[in-house]
Amino acid sequence: MRIGVLWNKLADPKNIPRLFAFSLGIILIIGLIVPMALNPDQLYVRPAPQEQIDEGLAIAPYDRGGEVLSQPGIINPQYPDNAASLGMITGYMSPLAQWISSISPYFGTSIYSSPGGLVDEILYYTRGFDTILESSILMMSFIIASWLSVNYTMNRKNDESEIREDVKKAISDSTKVAREVKANDAKARAKQLRRDN
């Protein structure tokens, strides 16, 4: 193929996602031969899987120590000096959560995120700016979607009469279409019957 023809194909928007996907896939598969290993020196390290629940902690798997409103939990962020009340959120439990933790050891997930807990500390405090962005992304896409549906795709004002007329015009204007419809009708019924059996 001549290179010009190839380049012309690249100018069609429809081909671009596919080309992008293809190049991304190639790079991903190259990743399989790259030597990879997890660096054990990480931020916000968590205990081994199931360790806390096996020990029977009431708020497993999110127990990071600390006492409610008095002692901060243990937490290991990048810049501890930028966060003045570090660990307090991790150590905090709402009264309701405290009550639930006293009755059963199996509700740790719910308890430690209501509100407070480690993930909340990261989401709202040490990396709160990320969450602002994430929720802004959410908000923006909903603005786009709801604007489109309120003003266009779901807009009842241009519904009913106009669309019906369009349909009618489309059918009545073209006798050819009508004839085809009739012809195909029979064919389709026959096929449908065959398929049902």
Binding site: P13, P17, S23, L24, M36, P77, Y79, D130, W147
Partner: protein
């Protein structure tokens, strides 16, 4: 590699927990330009696009309706602010998030128009933007796994391992797709064939500046 060799002397930082925004002359220049353009966008009214009509001697006017105008102006201002934020952020994941925000806003700015060709390219660009979440977030988290940090200040002091290079390559392809350059230009370029010049300029502006910034970030990470 540190900030100083790339962008000039460090003028200051804005600490927000783990995410530290920083300012060098280079970042400040980009930031100021983006804010200036955002201000202009907030002030200006869209143009009327005049085209010749087929088979007659008349002209067709393509205008931006009042409802559409409000929506698009809002989205463009947010887009300007988001890309301005991307210019000064000092955190890898934060940067990818800014990019994702810019991507979705770019689609939103043209989503209200009537031309199907524009919508078509917006849709295709949207598909790319969705796929980009894998290389962008994935690349950032591979770098996180390899080095144990996301802060650019720390990353810039670390030597690059093959894994970091792979993460950076992933991020690079994500950035290329999201900002629509190189072989992926078509989907984004078609989006500009619509009226509303003050709004579509921010699409172009944000993607160009993000490439500029991305190169700085990749240099920081890799060397």
């Amino acid at each position: 590699m540190d900030f100083v060799t790339l962008g000039g002397n460090l003028l200051g930082t804005i600490p927000l927990g783990d995410i530290v925004l920083y300012l060098t002359p280079f970042n400040l220049f980009l930031f100021a330009v983006l804010l200036g353009f955002t201000l202009l966008i907030a002030l200006s009214k869209p143009e009327t696009q005049i085209e010749a009509t087929m088979h007659t001697l008349n002209n067709t006017e393509v205008k931006v309706g009042p409802k559409e105008f409000k929506q698009r102006r809002f989205l463009s201002i947010i887009c300007g602010l988001a890309s301005a934020g991307a210019m000064i952020t000092g955190d890898l994941f934060n940067f990818t998030l800014f990019m994702a925000l810019v991507g979705i806003l770019n689609i939103g700015i043209v989503s209200a128009v009537k031309q199907t060709s524009v919508l078509n390219s917006a849709f295709n660009y949207g598909l790319i933007a969705m796929m980009c979440s894998l290389p962008l977030f994935g690349g950032a988290s591979i770098i996180l796994a390899a080095t144990g940090t996301l802060s650019l200040a720390v990353l810039s002091q670390m030597p690059a391992s093959p894994m970091v290079v792979f993460g950076a390559v992933l991020m690079l392809i994500g950035i290329l797709g999201e900002s629509g350059v190189a072989p992926f230009f078509a989907s984004k370029a078609e989006m500009f064939r619509t009226a509303g010049s003050p709004f579509i300029v921010i699409i172009h502006l944000s993607s160009l500046f993000i490439i500029v910034r991305a190169v700085e970030i990749l240099l920081l990470v890799l060397w």
